[in-house]
Symmetry: C2
Subunit: 547 residues, 2 copies
């Protein structure tokens, strides 16, 4: 059977737009000779609509669109994803469903069985799990339909007291009883640089274990924090990847479920390049889907704002960017020169806005209240916050969205000023450790110097007091990031981290910084997620706690 994999970029709640994409996909598949076309999980609504799923009119619109698509589906079959109302006596209001349609009608519905409710997933909040299994048939071919997590029944849980099997049911065990010719999987699996390979392995192992070909269609595109990377695949019954679609862009391909050898894969890319591509898509879709075009940011001459600007230029175009250089009396000359050089390399409009006058005005007004006190973090924060005001003024006056430039290392230990350099509509680098930032700078400069060499080489500094260096208050970044990765991504205990060769005193100091800065992260901008554990709604820590 000829099956089209339609890897598309949906917008949450944009029923007209999503419907149009799906109907065009059906037409294209029919024109190109496919028997069946498969779309991704919740393609009608976009993944994930969160509590919009609690709105009756939202569900009614989704139902209408499903009916309209079914009516238009003639001369070909299609499988689309949408929520549907649970009409049983008991249970949650909705199922997360896959609709198999042909001849202008819905022919079969398979609901999702395994509802992930960990990390960034929250599906049990809205959906009732499926308990019945069946098979779809078209043109004499029988195939089973699964939705994303349904193939992840052997998912190991993330820590040591975890079990082999997170779920009570194995949908594949149930479905193979129907002897399907192939298995379709409608997916919405977000990118994370340290889980991508693992995801393909799960699919390969399933195909091999059950001796059945798997067609995996993933969503592509970003929704606020989450970046869906595509990479849909067709895997044959021996577990070989026969066809692999593009990453980080829409793609469409027709495969023959009987084909064995036509290996058609994507080129290998390294981790930093993947993160780079993911972040560009993240920025691009945030702006496009929100209806924005223009961005601003504060260019300090440091490496974080430099990388953010390069990514923004790739995503939005230089003509849509306008940045501010905001030197204070503690800014070094080379900082301004480096920032100017970068803006000119990228052909981005910049203005130099010195912050000294408002900073002096704050300090003068506060001087009667601060009599007898010494300068401390207060005065440093006033500088960072004055910069925040300038950037938001540009944003308010000219409509540029402020991009936040905080990296994951800073975000983890609270090395940043709330309502100052933590401002922004979107945190581009908030899930990228500083050591990876340096690697990305080298990767960006691999052919020619875009980011000034001096920006990469000089010791990181916030430049909020004379001769300040990040290392005055933080361990060296390789040590800091090593501890943070083990604590955040790997969820190791302090003792386990120390056992990996880190000074226990430093480990405890770093962990304490992470824990006591939950309150800052609570008010941080949404962070583009590229790792297996990002700050944000996938990591829910209590603010008020003694631990």
């Amino acid at each position: 059977m000829k099956v089209a994999l339609a890897q598309l970029n949906y917008t949450i709640g944009d029923f007209d737009g999503n419907k149009q994409k799906i109907i065009s996909g059906i037409e294209r598949a029919r024109n190109e000779g496919a028997d069946l076309v498969v779309f991704s999980e919740l393609s009608v609504t976009g993944y994930y609509p969160h509590d919009l799923l609690e709105k009756k009119e939202f569900i009614q619109k989704a139902e209408t669109v499903v009916q309209e698509i079914a009516a238009s589906c003639r001369g070909i079959a299609a499988i689309i994803g949408a929520p549907r109302i649970n009409t049983n006596d008991r249970g949650k209001q909705l199922f997360n469903a896959a609709f198999f349609m042909a001849d202008g009608q819905i022919q079969y519905i398979q609901d999702k069985t395994l509802l992930p409710t960990y990390d960034i997933f929250d599906e049990y909040r809205h959906f009732e799990p499926n308990r019945t299994f069946g098979i779809a048939e078209y043109k004499g071919e029988r195939f089973a339909i699964t939705i994303c997590e349904d193939l992840w029944d052997e998912l190991p849980t993330a820590n040591e007291f975890g079990k082999d099997k997170l779920y009570q049911v194995s949908p594949m065990e149930e479905l193979v009883k129907f002897s399907p010719g192939f298995v379709v999987n409608l997916s919405a699996s977000p990118f994370s640089y340290n889980q991508e390979e693992w995801r393909q392995n799960v699919l390969v192992n399933k195909a091999r274990k059950y001796g059945v070909p798997i067609l995996y269609v993933n969503q592509v595109g970003a929704h606020t924090e989450l970046i869906f990377d595509g990479g849909s695949v067709f895997i044959n019954e021996k577990g070989a990847i026969v066809s692999e679609l593009k990453y980080f862009e829409e793609d469409f391909r027709i495969i023959d479920t009987k084909s064995e050898n036509a290996v058609d894969l994507q080129p290998e890319t390294d981790t930093i390049e993947k993160i780079y591509n993911a972040l560009i898509l993240g920025i691009k879709d945030y702006f496009r889907k929100m209806g924005f075009k223009k961005a601003t940011l504060g260019l300090s001459g440091g490496i974080d704002s430099a990388i953010t600007l390069v990514l923004a230029e790739r995503a939005l175009g230089a003509e849509n960017l306008r940045v501010l250089l905001m030197p204070s009396k503690y800014s070094s000359d080379h900082s301004v020169a480096d920032a100017v050089q970068l803006a000119e390399n990228l052909n981005v409009q910049y203005d130099v806005v010195p912050i000294q006058e408002p900073v002096d005005a704050f300090e003068k007004t506060l001087s009667p209240l601060f009599e007898g006190t010494s300068p401390d973090i207060t005065e440093e924060n006033i500088q960072a916050r004055a910069r925040g005001i300038f950037l938001m003024a540009i944003s308010n006056k000219f409509g540029h969205i402020l991009l936040n430039t905080t990296n994951k290392s800073e975000c983890a230990v609270g090395y940043g000023t709330l309502y100052g350099d933590m401002n922004g509509g979107l945190a581009v680098l908030g899930d990228v450790y500083k050591t990876d930032i340096f690697k990305m700078a080298r990767w960006i400069n691999r052919e020619k110097e875009i980011i000034p060499e001096n920006t990469i080489l000089k010791p990181p500094s916030a430049e909020l007091r004379p001769n300040q260096k990040d290392t005055d208050s933080l361990p060296d970044y390789p040590v800091l990031d090593g501890i943070l990765f083990r604590y955040i991504e790997l969820n190791l205990s302090p003792a386990e981290i120390a056992a990996d060769g880190y000074d226990p005193a430093v480990v405890n100091r770093v962990i304490k910084m992470v824990n006591t800065n939950e309150y800052k992260r609570f008010q941080a901008a949404p962070i583009l997620r590229v790792s297996s554990k990002a700050f944000g709604f996938g990591r829910k820590m209590p603010l008020v706690a003694r631990y």
Copy 2:
């Protein structure tokens, strides 16, 4: 049987403190002649620890504390709540368990069956649901143990396509098969002014339906946004409330499970007084459990900051408060006079800090960039953000936590400045509509004028431009709040709201304001929750969406 209800205020993750409270409770119950003492849900860890439950060392500490408490439990029986590891082959790592202990040992464990995963609840993220039922026995008396939601199996879901029964199982149906003499319920049920009565009704109906007495022990105290109100009750088998513990404070009472008539209830309080008491507890526990004492806020002469100051004074004491009056050239004379009057009425330290100098400095520095533009929201926001900088400077220099004074009506429609008047560690009034703010002012002034009459009477204004009034950009507050309540708390559609007598154009305008300001609320301070639907983690809306 004589059973003590121990309604205590735990701190999340404070294992030593919580253990000490529980052991003291056991000793007191024994000394006062009780046979059994019951504590609330997850009393060992505090409710709710969120992703701390994913940390192995957190679970190990909880297990150790459970063993220590069991060892100390002699001459009396006790029931406490704690997480425990799921040792089955499949399923999530933990159960949410109740441990029945006597004679120095754990005698019986009953795990929680119904795991709420709606609104602010997220228990399915961490816990496997219980599937087996049994009964505890002590001194010849048999009793069933349930945990919070286990009695809520008939919970109607919140919208019209909902079902009668959210869950597949009814724990009470299973437990009554064992003919218990009474049913214990360990609870952690947060306060919401429009659900409190409903909660007691559920308990009363269960007791009556099954003809069995119910002992309900709730947690008291606040954890960041959530305020647990206590109000533990003993209900006899006829469904009469025989004994009711205090609201918003710790309480301890011994009841006889055979007693019928000894009605011992709390005085009726009206809704506004309940909200007032809830907010004071919310502030008090935020500060106490975080280890803070002192607070600051900006006193504008308006009603929101006035109420916030009154609540803070009740929670923290006047000696721990220091407020700023920050007039601009648009501030009316009476605003300053009203603010001074309130500070003096409450005996709170205040400073007058005019914002004009830094505001002028910003505008002067920006003037080359802003050439040819007209004043707009940009200049208004600069004022609000300059005030934010002053308040954070006081906070940074002297250690006062900034209280945010935004009300729910403003928060809903985005009538506030991000990084300006939206700043703060805790949003005290973010779940209280403006119309209720006025009622609370009247209630506070019921015996004498604490809040200046002029603050209550004058039309609300942000005073960011000459003669500005809130009603320039918003509908009158009774109309606005009527629409917001229907949209947010009742989850009605625009058509349904209009059918309640609101102008459809106004309804659409208000709803659009709510939807397009998700990005601001994303970065808002934690909001003390007092309603059935507060902004924050109980209302998850996608930021990037077209709907």
